[in-house]
Symmetry: C2
Subunit: 300 residues, 2 copies
Amino acid sequence: MKNKFYTYIQNLQEQICKGLEDIDGGTKFREDIWKRPEGGGGRTRVIENGNVFEKGGVNISAVHGKLPDTMQKMFGVGEADFFACGLSLVIHPKNPMVPTVHANWRYFEMYDEKGNIINQWFGGGQDLTPYYLFEEDAKHFHQTCKTACDKHNPEFYPNYKKKCDEYFWNAHRFEARGIGGLFFDYLKATETMKMEDWYNFVTEVGNSFLQAYVPIVEKRKDLPYSDAQRTWQEIRRGRYVEFNLVHDKGTLFGLKTNGRIESILMSMPPHVQWIYDHKPEIGSEEEKLIKVLENPIEWV
Amino acid sequence: MKNKFYTYIQNLQEQICKGLEDIDGGTKFREDIWKRPEGGGGRTRVIENGNVFEKGGVNISAVHGKLPDTMQKMFGVGEADFFACGLSLVIHPKNPMVPTVHANWRYFEMYDEKGNIINQWFGGGQDLTPYYLFEEDAKHFHQTCKTACDKHNPEFYPNYKKKCDEYFWNAHRFEARGIGGLFFDYLKATETMKMEDWYNFVTEVGNSFLQAYVPIVEKRKDLPYSDAQRTWQEIRRGRYVEFNLVHDKGTLFGLKTNGRIESILMSMPPHVQWIYDHKPEIGSEEEKLIKVLENPIEWV
């Protein structure tokens, strides 16, 4: 399973980078190969200052070795060996009419002293963070998520949509980071879902990513925008930074366990602003977004 | 003591705001008075888009009530009443040749059921975060700190300078946030230092703030700078954000205990950038700064 899934995310990274480069038309991803001293490493791909994408990363990694102390505590286990691999992406477009997108698909294995697998699971999801709300875009993104889920179980979409709204809750701001999508974790073998079934589900979601995002980019990338709208985007990017650095478990985990900092923080937006006590005008498009973030709604 | 210190920080807020407005010459601080539902409140003063200061806050607060659960855990105590007051400031100048400065002076009391004080202490400090290193500025700032300390005890400066370097260590970046200054906490009554003596020490430091910072601003505020130097400043401000949101106990504590968000996050810089894997050129002024941040040195 680990080889199969790692091969899958290697190919998915290729496809996603190619798909995003095609729509950007201006620049290509650059690649950094890195090694983890304790075992494994990754292939980070970053795009900067494109026509469409101001900054973004599509990273894969596969790491293994002794389970670090912090992870032992997190999982409530003792010493063990582990393997983890995944693809993580965050794309920050330049035009404030185009939403930021994040996605992640990952697989984890733990072993006993003899090297037998004692635990294994998948996790991941994909979610959208618009700066201006186009309801048809939100519906398209969620519908694509739902279609992928429904092929496996009609309960997946409502469950994982809810988990996404809960996870990406920027608690200190009393608002969601974005308009959500899917979030799932600890997908372990059960009577009805073997690991192979979860593999099929997770890769179905992975395969839906470009369909979920690219049509939105196509539709919005050439819309005109004002300096004020760009400022609003930069302020909202500040909230993205706050979520990732204060609440996101993956980011904090990486920062506190000697992960590769530049690969972890590729999620940071390029240009960001903080203005004291900024509030959108009543009745404005900016306020319309905030209302939806404060009270996540059902899109499909 | 609490009334005496609160009166002191009220006056100090006036003095500092006045001193900074005088040197800015362009704009004034605006004021927000806020109440804490559980008891107490604060007076936040913010400056934005001045001639010299791009964004900054000089805030005071005095809060009281039942000790929140998080603070009970932090101090390893059970239920109790508390009082806390303090002044907190962060100033982000526009010109990258002028350093960012942070300072804080605070006083804490805890009570038993009858309202008797069972514990009380002072804390605080002041520290400098330059974007370009002028050694004479670093020396001036540290010398001013040392002079204030030496009037009370010759061990204070070396001790609190060290604690400052330790506290403002941006661990995931393997570098200090800035070039330090003073940091002290849990200054409690001892045989040689009564609370009155600590009051005299802490207010001595508070009174030294404008002397420590303003001459540096005067000297650097009109220096010319390039777009590339401004970009460097914005990248370094990103490190400031990272420290405050990932490591700073005060910020995290405020965010997780329903503090007044806008007063806490007034510390965020106005314009910030993240560029993937940015490294300064070898032998450049930017690299010179990094080397000092990686290995904090003795300035006086």
